[in-house]
Each structure stands twice: as C-alpha cells, then as structure tokens.
C-alpha cells in the first residue's frame, strides 16, 4: 500500500482492509470484496483529490513513491541509452539524459532525477543539480539539434544546488547558458513538469515550445518553505505561501505559462505509475507531431513570441 499523506489519513483503515483481502488471495467471495473495497477507496480518493489545496498538491508532487524521470523512461519510452558527463568537469547524477524512442520516434530525453533512498539521494544530491548537470543537459541539447532529434525534458527539482562549490563552478552561468541554448534550439522541444518545478534550476530545461504540467505538479519561483521564510519570516507558513504564490498546474494555465495539464491517476501518479507514464508519453507524442508539422522558422518564431508576449505590466 502506498504511504499516505496527512490529508489521506482517513483512508488508512480502508487501505489496510484492502491489503488484508489481497493477502488472503483470490477466491470468489474475497475478489468480490476486493472489488468493492477498491471501488470504495477510489471513490474516497476522488473526493479528497477533487479539492486539494496548493500545499496538498505540493505534498503529492513530493510523494516519495511518485514516479521520477527514470521511471517514465522505463515505462513510457524504449531503448533509452543514458549518456554521461559534461566533458569538462564531472557527471552530475541529478540530471540524466540520452536518446530514447518515443512512439517510434527518436527523442533526446533530459530529466531531473531524485533518489529513492538515502544512498541514492546522496549520489543524486537530492535531485539538486550542480553546474555540470546543466552543462551536460546543454551538451545533449546541442547534440540533439545537430542530429535533428526533438528534445523532451522531464522536470522534477526542488531547486538547483547552492553550495560554495556550485558558486565556484558557475551555477548562475550554467543555468543562464542552458536557458539560452534551449530557447535557440532548432528542433521541437517539449517540457513536462512531473513533480516539482523549482525555480531557475527548473527553468533551465523548461524553456520549450510546449510546457506541460502533471495535474499535481508545481512550478514556482522559490520553494514554499523559502518563500515563507522570506515573505512571512516563518518557514512553517509554507502552506500559506504555496497558496499565495500561485504555483499549481491550474495557476500556470491561468497565467498562460503552461500549455496543458496532464491528468493523473486517481489519488496521484504514484498510485498508478504506468497510467501516468502513458498519459505523459501520449501527450508528448501528440505535441511533437504538431510541432514537427511546423516549418522551423515558424517554430522558432512562435517559441520566441511565447516569452516575448508575457505582459503583466501597464504603461
């Protein structure tokens, strides 16, 4: 059974019951009971998830069992070959990438990757890329452009790493350069926020022709905790910050920054990873089909206008 978030605690009893029935194996009466319990669980989940607050969505986006970039690669793509290194300093494990096949089309996938356990999290720096991660991403983008392969990015990052070593190796420049390169790429680009879209570290690989968000994904200028610490001088005000900063998929659609929302399985992507992967890859495929049909000049002009036309000012 999946770990329950605090707002799902009313389901604990039902989940246990369901687990017990499943453990007892399938004879006629228990499979009927299992179906009944399953239906009841979905019913309750649907109720809870119908009206999640922004903070609750943040919690779902950070769920420890939520599918990560490599899960999407495994479930929704084939033939992925991970390429390593920025050819200048190191291989950053918080960003993964390489060619893969998506619905019979070769794409360059670049994803931000969190770890599943402590050891892997240390290895992947808790999903917070160093400058060499962004330089690897940039290298792969340029490779894709040269070979005429579209780029698909999977965004899931609490924020870019911010240590003394990151300053030494030019975190700012690495992100700035990645943004610049991605905006100028002469191939179609699709970005999907699969979890957290944390700040400039997310934007570095999000400047795409299409930006899609999973239903419970977020995109934010600063984590709710950081925003709360700055604007409310109290990190425990994170739920309030999450609400006021307008960081949900719906908010991003409303502001015109997201091009679509990918519905998640009932109760969140972690309850059915395969279904989530299917939704993501189907939409990415559809988007690439549309973008492929555009002359490159128009593709680039539209991408430019998407950012040039951001207003929110008065004269």
């Amino acid at each position: 059974m999946p770990s329950l978030l605090d707002f799902e605690s009313s389901l604990r009893h039902l989940e246990h019951e369901l687990e017990n029935v499943r453990a007892r194996g399938s004879n006629g009466s228990s499979s009927e009971q299992q179906e009944r319990l399953q239906a009841e669980l979905e019913n309750q989940l649907r109720g809870i998830y119908a009206s999640l607050t922004a903070w609750q969505k943040v919690q779902v986006s950070r769920h420890l069992e939520r599918p990560y970039a490599l899960d999407y690669l495994q479930l929704g793509f084939s033939d992925f070959v991970e390429l390593h290194g920025d050819r200048s300093f190191a291989d950053d494990r918080a960003i993964i990438g390489g060619p893969a096949v998506l619905d019979s089309r070769t794409v360059m996938v670049i994803g931000q990757q969190k770890g599943r356990d402590t050891r892997e999290n240390v290895e992947r720096n808790f999903g917070m890329p160093h400058p060499e991660g962004y330089r690897k991403a940039e290298r792969l983008m340029k490779q894709a452009e040269r070979l005429g392969i579209p780029v698909v990015t999977l965004i899931d990052i609490p924020g870019a790493s911010a240590s003394l070593q990151d300053e030494e190796r030019g975190q700012s420049e690495a992100i700035a350069s990645s943004i610049s390169t991605m905006l100028a790429l002469n191939v179609p680009t699709v970005a999907v926020v699969i979890g957290e879209g944390g700040s400039g570290g997310a934007l570095a690989i999000a400047c795409a022709d299409r930006l899609y968000m999973l239903e419970y994904a977020t995109f934010t200028v600063a984590s709710p905790e950081a925003a709360a610490a700055i604007l409310w001088r109290d990190a425990v005000k994170a739920p309030e910050a999450a609400q006021n900063m307008k960081i949900t998929a719906d908010d991003l659609m409303e502001m015109g920054f997201a091009d679509g929302i990918i519905p998640e399985p009932i109760g969140g992507a972690h309850r059915d990873r395969s279904a989530a992967a299917k939704s993501v890859t189907e939409l990415a495929t559809r988007a690439l089909n549309e973008l492929d049909s555009l002359p490159r000049e128009e593709l680039l002009a539209r991408r430019y206008e998407k950012y040039r036309d951001i207003d929110f000012f008065r004269e």
Partner: protein, 296 residues
Amino acid sequence: MKDIFKRHPRYPAQREKFEALPDNLWIRCPKCQELVYANELESNLRVCPKCKYHFGLTARERIDATLDEGSFHELDANMRSVDPLRFSALEGVYSEKLEQYAEKAGTAESFLYGHGAIEGEPLVFGVTEFKYAGGSMGAVFGEKLVRAIELAERESLPLVTVSSGGGARMQEGTVSLMQMAKTVAALNRFKEQRLPYISIMVDPCLGGMTASYAMLGDVNMAEPGAYIGFAGRRVIEQTMRQKLPQDAATSEFLLHHGMIDLVTPRAEIPSLLGRLLRMYVTSKASSRREPVAQLA
C-alpha cells in the same frame, strides 16, 4: 540617524541611511570601520578613500558615474506592475507596497533604460534601482530590459547594463521567474547581430539576474568586492551548514574561477567602457556588409 554610528560586523544594508545624511556628517565605512567625511565620499564616487569599499549607488547616481554628462534619455519611465498574483503577505498588500517602493526609490520600477553615450560613443544603457524592492526582477523589469535590447538591436547600438539586485521578485511568482527566459530570448536575437553586450554586476547581484541575462555578456565586468552569486551568502550558509570564506562569491572569486572578465574600480569603468566600445563598434563598422558568421 544615530544608528549609522553603530558598528556593523558584516556588510549591512546601510545605503538608505547614508542617503539621508546631511553633507556635514561623518559616516562609518562598513568594511574598514573608519570614519569618512561624507563630502569626501561623495566626491570620490562613493568609494571609501581608505579601503576602497564601494558603497551602493542609486540608478541616477550610477548614470552620472558612468555616462557622459547629460547624455542619458530615459524611456518608458512610467511602466508599472499590475500585481499579477494579487499578492499579499506579512509585509502587506503587494499593490500597496509598490507605491511605497516608488516613493522610497523615486523611480516607478526597479529597472531604468534609455539612450546614452560614453566618451562620445552612443549606446543603450540599462540600470537597476536597488532601492526599489531590492532591485528585484518582475514583469516590468523584464519588459523594459527586453525593450532596451530591442532598441539596441534596431538602432545597431551596443548594450551596457549595470545590475544589482536580490534576484526574482517573489511577489510576482512565476511571472517573475519567466522574465529570465524572456530576457535571454531577446538577448539571443540581439547576439545574432554584430553588436556587443557588456554586463556590469555590482553589489549585490543574485540568482534571477546572474542565472539569466547578467552572466551572458560578451564582457562580464564587476566592481571590486561585490557579492555576485547564484544564492546569497546566508542561504548558502544555512542550507549547506557551511561557513563561507570571506571572499566567497565576490568579484575577485568569480574572476579567479573564470566567470567574469574584469574587476574594475568604479572610477575606471567609464574609460574602460569607452575603450571597449570603440574597439567593438569600429570592428563592426569596418565589416558591416559581411554576413553574420554562422556556427556550423
């Protein structure tokens, strides 16, 4: 008035207090702790005569300290934010805060731009106003910077920016974040022309700017001792539980690590800009008719 004489162990946010000083007062340099005669500081471009600490400048002071006298003609001076998130926090309602920022800074927003000249060389000049919401980058900042870039491109002029700010304007949320992409997109187009972009970073210059347009100059320049980083000193120390060395993420540190081209004292910036612009613009004039080089 009294607390300006307090000793501050590290770089304090003293510039506002400094502004209000009558000209017959002494002020204490936050770096060397020496008392400096205010008039002397004024005539020294607000650089401490004893330790060369560079005090902050307002946008207007920066214009005076950098451009030929009377050459600056500001554009879009009245553009304002529309409070895209209808934001309010502990500090109050953002739309009301905007009025207070404007009153305090004497500018309508945190970024100014216009035509100007340095040693007779015409250019487009953009500068942040730190006193307006800490020089933070919101929708107006982004739009004005993009217009500055487009103006330079349209009129075949070099572009010079001076940046100092805390990064993104938190109260404008993702709208603020997206300005990083918007400004870089415009800069990409500008760079397809044979035109130079010189980015000057001054204390303090952080994430939203450094991780977008400000690090993308053909020449990246900084004043001595400025804090220029992806994250602020306090943020790094807190999140990494790591005590930073004194020179971490300073101009000299960035120069050492290859992130910027030049560390230039304030008084020498105009002549250096003049030299660079003459060389770059002359090279452009002499080969104007050739096609722009393409990367393979």
